[in-house]
């Protein structure tokens, strides 16, 4: 096919620039919003997804991990008595206050663990070791929150809930969805920092034996341990994510913004391709007069849309990559996995091709007799 589509598209450089700008804007906006959504959902369920546990035992009616209610740690023995359990550990996750050297206070989420066990250990350590949490008053936090908490180096001493806390390590990439950073410490320290009694815990994490049926073990736990709920990690993760993303409305807001990006892109591309089509309407009439079927004319227009989509997508992804990279050091990470990048390509193509339908409708109704009007 002679390059009619490409030539018509590149003929008007100003209009092409407008088209591509619209597509780039749309791609970047959608990537940023969806990336934020993905970053948020990851952050909301970080603790659960990295816990290493198969099941979570909670007090009754706990809707998400930040809303734990203390219960007696005697339930740990009841849990361990149920068949199919390879490992069970009590943990604490609770908010408390961190006091900076300048006297200011910041809200933090204490995560108290059994340091000798593998469940709910901090991950991605860049300085220090998890075993260092065995030392008295030891805490590990994420390097992202150093400035917020007034921390500059390993060994610094602070106050949490009126108790001494010594920084022994930093992780990288453990974000909290709320403004309160996670602070990992031993279970005993956590009880002090969060003002819990010695016989109290917030959650019990369970690892089932290899080959055990997860749902059977879950049902057995619910039958044998009173006044608790038992969720699979996946289930509890979904509940926590759902609460933060949809019950609070935060997720809906970013999804709406992403949808707006799609609408903007659609409208801009539809308008510019339509204008280009109208500029060349006589040519399309000539094509039809020559005997071209409608499908031939549609191909020309669709090709223009597809070329615009490919170029706009490429430019948009370049900009998006810079934005995504820049966000990694910020409070809210924008994530763009390869599957999202691939999905964006098809979404961009669909947006542009869909926008071209307005022009398709126009050329379908061209009267070829127009070519005889001078």
């Amino acid at each position: 096919m002679p390059p009619l589509a490409q030539r018509n598209l590149f003929h008007d450089k100003v209009r092409l620039t407008v088209t591509l700008t619209g597509i780039v804007f749309s791609v970047v906006l959608i990537v940023v919003q969806l990336g934020l959504f993905l970053g948020f959902t990851t952050a909301t369920s970080n603790l659960i997804d990295h816990s290493g546990a198969d099941l979570w035992v909670t007090s009754k009616n706990v809707p998400y991990v930040e809303q734990g209610v203390p219960f007696s740690e005697r339930k740990l023995n009841q849990v361990r008595a149920v068949p199919g359990i390879a490992d069970a550990q009590k943990i604490i996750t609770r908010w408390t206050q961190w006091k900076r050297h300048d006297g200011g206070q910041e809200s933090v989420q204490i995560v108290g663990i059994n340091v000798d066990d593998q469940l709910e250990r901090p991950w991605n350590l860049v300085e220090g070791r998890v075993e260092d949490l065995k030392s008295p008053d030891a805490v590990i936090l994420d390097e992202l929150y150093k400035q917020k908490l007034g921390v500059t180096r390993i060994g610094e001493v602070f106050e949490i809930g009126g108790y001494r806390a010594r920084v022994v390590g930093f992780t990288r990439g453990i974000r909290s969805f709320t403004t309160s950073p996670y602070v990992f410490t031993s279970f005993k320290n956590a009880q002090d920092y969060t003002n819990l009694r010695e016989d109290q815990a917030m959650f019990i994490l369970v690892k089932v034996t290899p080959g055990a049926n997860l749902q059977h073990v879950r049902r057995d736990l619910m039958d044998h341990v009173k006044d608790v709920d038992v969720y699979t990690s996946a289930q509890f993760s979904r509940m926590t994510t759902f609460y933060w993303m949809f019950t609070t409305g935060a997720g809906v807001a970013v999804l709406i913004a992403a949808a707006l990006g799609l609408v903007v892109g659609f409208v801009v591309v539809a308008q510019t391709i339509y204008a280009t089509t109208m500029d060349h309407i006589r040519e399309y009439g000539t094509l039809k007069a020559m005997g071209a079927p409608n499908s031939y004319v549609y191909k020309v227009i669709m090709k223009q849309a597809a070329i615009s989509a490919v170029i706009g997508y490429a430019l948009g992804m370049i900009v998006s990559l810079f934005v995504v990279q820049g966000s990694q050091k910020g409070g809210a990470a924008i994530l763009m996995p390869p599957s999202m990048a691939m999905g964006m390509f098809f979404l961009t193509l669909a947006m542009c091709v869909g926008a071209a339908l307005v022009s398709i409708n126009k050329v379908t109704h061209i009267d070829p007799a127009m070519v005889f009007k001078g």
């Binding site: 002679p2 030539r7 000539t286 094509l287 020559m290 005889f372």
Partner: protein
């Protein structure tokens, strides 16, 4: 002689409210291979409407139009483009070339519509451009061509589809005398040497000398059919496009 296009009792009515307007009424006409047939008449007489219906661009209200033996009146809109593509080549007053394609690519476009593969299309396109005397202008864009050159490219494009019928709407209207003569000599050659049926709608009295037959249309009906030799000698003397000896 078999008709390339046979029109019988053709009527075209445009519905405007309850009254309607007859653009054509009871037209009987044949266009033959090897003949230059000219349709003349005042503006609004129905010449272009008749040409459009003969070329399957407009549909008739009633009557019969047989194009290369196929009855086209009553066919659905979808069935007309293949007929046009197979049997008709158009030459327009405004040339109607694609400005973003080169002259050669304009001809290739017709070949692409016919399903000819790109390499063969390019080769054939070069041949056609040579035939119309524009081989050296193959890669020129229409904006860089004169009016006469554009019309010759349009003729090459019309021929690319190997049609039996060439329909031309005011092909010399935008051209000067010399260029118009060149174009008319080509149109005459298409009929007399290549055996096409050539139908030309024209206001231009300068081209009448190239006609084998002239049909005068007035108010949607055929007012007269004339052979050029019976046209008033005075009119012929005004004809600056008299064919050169030996070309007819």
């Amino acid at each position: 002689m078999q008709s390339a296009i046979a029109v019988r009792q053709l009527t075209k009515k445009y519905d405007e409210g309850s009254a309607g307007t007859f653009a054509l009424r009871g037209i009987d006409l044949d266009a033959y291979a090897g003949e230059v047939l000219m349709l003349v008449g005042p503006s609004g007489s129905g010449k272009t409407t008749l040409l459009s219906i003969m070329g399957c661009i407009l549909t008739a209200t009633s009557g019969s139009v047989r194009l290369a033996g196929t009855e086209v009146v009553g066919l659905s809109e979808k069935r007309l483009p293949p007929l046009r593509l197979a049997h008709v080549g158009f030459v327009f007053q405004g040339f109607n070339l694609f400005p973003t394609l080169t002259a050669g690519e304009n001809v290739e476009l017709m070949l692409d519509l016919k399903g000819i593969a790109a390499t063969n299309a390019r080769k054939r396109s070069h041949e056609l451009m040579e035939q119309v005397g524009l081989g050296q202008k193959y890669d020129s864009f229409p904006a860089d061509l004169s009016g006469g050159q554009k019309q010759r490219v349009a003729i090459a494009r019309a021929l690319a589809g190997e049609p039996q019928i060439i329909l031309a709407d005011e092909p010399t209207a935008a051209l000067d005398s010399h260029t118009g003569r060149t174009v008319m000599e080509m149109m005459s050659d298409l009929a007399h040497r290549r055996g096409r049926a050539v139908v030309i709608v024209t206001h231009d009295s300068r081209v009448l000398g190239f006609a084998d037959r002239i049909v005068r249309i007035e108010d949607g009906v055929i007012a007269a059919t004339e052979e050029p030799q019976v046209v008033a000698p005075a009119l012929l003397q005004m004809n600056q496009f008299q064919p050169a000896t030996g070309l007819a």
